[in-house]
Every structure is written in C-alpha cells, then in structure tokens.
Symmetry: C2
Subunit: 151 residues, 2 copies
DNA sequence: GAATATTAGTTCGTATACGAATTAAAGGTG
DNA sequence: CACCTTTAATTCGTATACGAACTAATATTC
C-alpha cells in the first residue's frame, strides 16, 4: 500500500495511541481499563442493559464481555441480574462503588473528548465524523467483497 | 461524555469494525492475522528491520512483537538474524513463504485502502488525515494532562 | 403441542496486547 | 579501565479479544 494514503494504518496508529494513553489514565485515576470504564459510562446512561446491548455499544463480542463483567463483578462495580420476563437475558446494573468512580472520571472523559477535536472547526468535525461513521458502517462490506481488482 | 461528539467512541467503533473485518479477510486469504500481515507489508518495503523499528511501525510494544515473530518464524514466514555490528540487535527477514502471501494479499490491501476513502474528495481526505495524525501524535499529551477542568 | 429454529449468554482454546522485570551488549564518565 | 547508564530484545503474568461449541430458554412451524 505504498502510494495512496494508507488509511488503515493511520486509523490503527490513532487508535493505538489513544487507547494506550486512555488505559494508562483510567488505570491511574480509577484502577480500570478503558473498556471497563466504557461499561460504566454506558450503564450510567441507561442502567440494567443486557449483555447483548452492552457488547454492541462497546464494539465487543459477547464472548469478550463475559469475562469483562466477571472481573467487574468481583470488584463490586456491577452486578448481573436475571431478567424476569425473558429468563435467557442477563441485565447488568451499576453498584455503589462504580458511582464513585464515575463521578471522578466523567469530567476527565469530557475534557479529553473536547481537546481531541479542539484544533478543528465545526465543518471539519462534521467531515471527520462522517468518515468515522462511514468506516464503522461499511468496513465489513468493503473488506469482505474486496478481491484483487484487475486479474 | 453525553453532549459533544464522543470522538473516542467513534474512533473505537471505526477501528473495531475495520480490524475485525480485516482479520477475517486475512485469515481467509492467507491464514494470517492482520497484524501478521502488517509485519510482512512493512518488511516488504524494507527487509531486515530491527524489532524496535517494526514494533514502532506497527504501533505495538516490543514485548508484544516477540511472540508475534515467534509464531511467524515457526510458520516459516520470517526469520530472525543477529545483527553483526551491534550484537544486541535482532533483524527480521522475509522468507520465501511470505513472498507468496504478499503477492496474493497486496492487491487486496490496496483496493481496500482505496475504497475506504472513495466517498471523500481530496480536500476532505486531507482533513481526515490531519485529524488522524493529530490524534496519533497528541493523544498521550492530551490525555496525560487531562484533569477535571473546573474544580 | 411436539419438533425445529432462533436467541442470549457462557465456556474454551488461542492469539494479542500490555507493563514490569530481566538479560545482554554498548556507551559514556570519571 | 572500572562503574553507571542506556539500549535491544525477551520473558512473565495478566487482561483482552476472537470464533466455535455449548446450554438454556423462547419462538416458530407444521
């Protein structure tokens, strides 16, 4: 991929930088991985989400979420409860310990999100957002269909 | 992170989508993870890079690269050789089996990179690239310094 | 309403990833 | 040239991540 912008690589680099820095920060501030903080943030918007919903929000497979919730449950951050109406469904609820962490970390999260876009004006942010959505929504199709173009 | 664009989340979603789709594709086409393909692509531009150089290119820590190269060496895709001038340094070289895979996968990689940016014109691509570079270069500083803004 | 299919979650084996600690080899510095 | 620091890579323990296989419960279909 020599000549054109190697966009995959650029996304990878940006993601790696942000994920590592965020993990270090959440580890220091709250003793959490950034994914664990993500769980708390999503639950703070709507408590008692199902595993399927949470996995989708976090862009993670359900099989990955299982262990994540296990560890968070051990630490008393969240709690699983069986849904009463559909007994297959497990709902996940915030615990007291998590509320404290959320109080402490949410301002940091907001600040970082703001700073990340600080050098860009409104029109530019719109383009960036459109690009990220395009990739998120179409990556699967684009890549699955890809075959050596000519020949 | 409710009101403003939750940029971290959007990058995360885009990255997850692209990484998963790419991994599936490289698995099918070449039996490789996308990171392993990355190793081959970087070596194809310059063979015999050191572990430190490769890790940096791939946005991965050296400790992560070790196992990666172990597995690729077992499969005969690459080979480690000690540098003669500085005996601490290990250089990594492509093997014959890798050349074949590269032939097969490089057109696919190019095609995907092109498609990912297809809906955007030149000016827009420039903004997107600037944003990704900004994040990659400044994530660490921005996040490390972040503290609850007021209060 | 019994047989079949679908859906929700978990478990399992493996591949990544990290940081911290370790080893080995260079590079200063006095 | 002995000591201290720096650099390159690996190893170790742990946390994620995945897909595939599994279990349990609900839906569908005939």
């Amino acid at each position: 991929m020599p000549q054109q912008p190697r966009i995959f690589l650029m996304i990878n680099k940006a993601y790696a930088a942000i994920a590592r820095a965020a993990d270090k920060k959440t580890q220091q501030v709250a003793g959490l991985s950034s994914t664990q903080l993500g769980v708390l943030l999503f639950l703070s918007r709507r408590d008692g989400q199902t595993a399927t919903e949470l996995a989708k929000s976090l862009s993670v497979r359900k099989s990955s979420l299982s262990g994540l919730i296990d560890r968070m449950e051990e630490r008393g951050l969240v709690q699983r409860k069986k849904d009463l109406e559909d007994r297959r469904v497990v709902r996940i609820y915030l615990q007291a310990a998590a509320l404290d962490l959320l109080q402490r970390t949410m301002p940091v999260v907001r600040h970082i999100n703001r700073q990340m876009l600080a050098p860009f004006d409104e029109a530019e942010v719109a383009i960036i957002a459109r690009f990220l959505r395009h990739v998120a929504e179409n990556a699967e199709t684009l890549i699955a269909q890809a075959a050596p173009p000519k020949e």
